[in-house]
């Protein structure tokens, strides 16, 4: 689960949450307290870390930590 760990580290850094809160099923908005601008920053940080593009239509579908991990794994 190397991808998950990297994603988790970015989420902890970007959203200022505890590592223990970052579960696969955690929703960015409802569980981790992110707003739309936080999500923009998060998406950009993920793009940079994994060297990929996350188009707006795809970014809109990423609602949970698991969604983000799956999106990245599918493209690696």
């Amino acid at each position: 689960m190397a991808t998950f760990d990297k994603v988790k580290a970015i989420i902890v850094d970007q959203l200022g949450v505890e590592e223990s809160e970052v579960a696969m099923e955690a929703s960015f908005v409802d569980d981790l307290g992110a707003d739309s601008l936080d999500i923009v920053e998060l998406v950009m940080a993920l793009e940079e870390e994994f060297g990929l593009e996350i188009p707006d239509e795809e970014a809109e579908k990423i609602r949970t930590v698991g969604d983000a991990v799956k999106f990245i794994q599918d493209r690696q």
């Binding site: 707003d35 739309s36 601008l37 923009v40 920053e41 950009m44 188009p55 707006d56 239509e57």
Partner: protein, 315 residues
């Protein structure tokens, strides 16, 4: 000295002044008057249906041959249809609020429409620049209506440093001093909403214009911070009720319900106690109702005076 920036060339306007596209306020009459005066007038689509917008675009085109814009509120149920209309009518400029216009950009660019989103943060500005927008409006929390967290002074230079496209500063601008300050921060122009509410051509109710003329420096407040959708309005009966319920921990649904229909109530019906009078912090600087042309001339004359004074080293 002519204060012409690259933004003026990009938009085909004479002066680097945009008029904010305010819902229920920025009608074709106001937008066309601002464009005629050499700025960029912008029709505010808000939540209005597409037929209304179509009428407004046609009206603006009948009054002015100069470029004008439409502001599309992306959370409106008509956002998609409004964009289709803008493409069909080949409106020269579209500004957007409350979201990310990414998916509309390719088709707008295809017909030559300039796309300028309003952004409240550095990251969104960067993402928009990457998506190919022509400029961004960095809007600080001094503005009226829905606002972001940052103030104009810290937001603008950070956005200027982060993107290579032109930046338009918004939030707290009123006169030539503000325009020069914005240019000093690296912006290429300003967007003003509140001051244009006092324009003769602005069709809002006279009660609102009179309220703006009477307003003092501390008369606007921000409500709705707890709902995640903060709004700057003039403190009136509605604002006080809202503040009270917010302090008592009223549920978000109740607070949101309190705001429904209130903007129209204020701006169109002139109900300035029960309605939502969205206005920026500079509203207290408004002293009279005057034509849009006089507002623009005042800003440009003032800006040149300030620039000359600074150039002579007189601080």
């Amino acid at each position: 000295m002519k204060l012409k920036t690259n933004l003026c060339n990009l938009l085909g306007i004479e002066y680097p002044i945009l008029q904010g596209g305010m819902a229920w306020v920025s009608t074709a009459e106001l937008a066309a008057a601002v464009s005629e005066a050499g700025g960029l007038g912008v029709i505010g689509a808000g939540h209005a249906p597409t037929e209304w917008l179509e009428e407004q675009i046609k009206k603006a085109k009948s009054i002015t041959k100069k470029p004008f814009g439409v502001n599309v509120m992306l959370m409106s149920p008509f956002a998609e249809q409004n964009m289709e209309l803008i493409i069909r009518e080949r409106v020269p400029v579209v500004t957007t609020g409350a979201g990310n216009p990414g998916k509309f950009i390719p088709r707008l660019k295809e017909v030559g429409t300039r796309v300028i989103p309003v952004i409240p943060s550095v990251a969104l500005a960067q993402r928009m620049a990457k998506a190919g927008v022509d400029a961004v409006i960095a809007e600080g929390g001094e503005s009226g209506g829905h606002i972001g967290e940052l103030s104009t002074m810290p937001l603008v230079p950070q956005v200027v440093d982060a993107v290579e496209i032109p930046v338009i500063a918004a939030g707290g601008f009123f006169d030539g001093r503000g325009l020069i300050a914005a240019l000093a921060l690296g912006a290429q122009g300003i967007q003003m909403g509140t001051r244009f509410m006092s324009a003769t051509e602005c069709t809002i109710h006279d009660n609102v214009k009179e309220l703006l003329i009477k307003a003092k420096d501390r008369d606007t407040i921000v409500t709705g911070r707890t709902t995640g959708h903060p709004v700057r309005i003039i403190r009136n009966k509605l604002a006080k009720q809202f503040e009270e319920r917010e302090r008592q921990g009223a549920p978000v649904e109740e607070l949101e319900q309190m705001g429904v229909g209130r903007l129209r109530m204020a701006m169109v019906e002139g109900e300035i106690q029960e309605g939502s009078v969205m206005a920026g912090q500079i509203c207290s600087m408004i002293k009279r109702v005057e034509p849009a042309n006089d507002i623009i001339k005042d800003i440009m004359t003032g800006a040149e005076l300030v620039l000359n004074r600074l150039g002579r080293g007189e601080f």
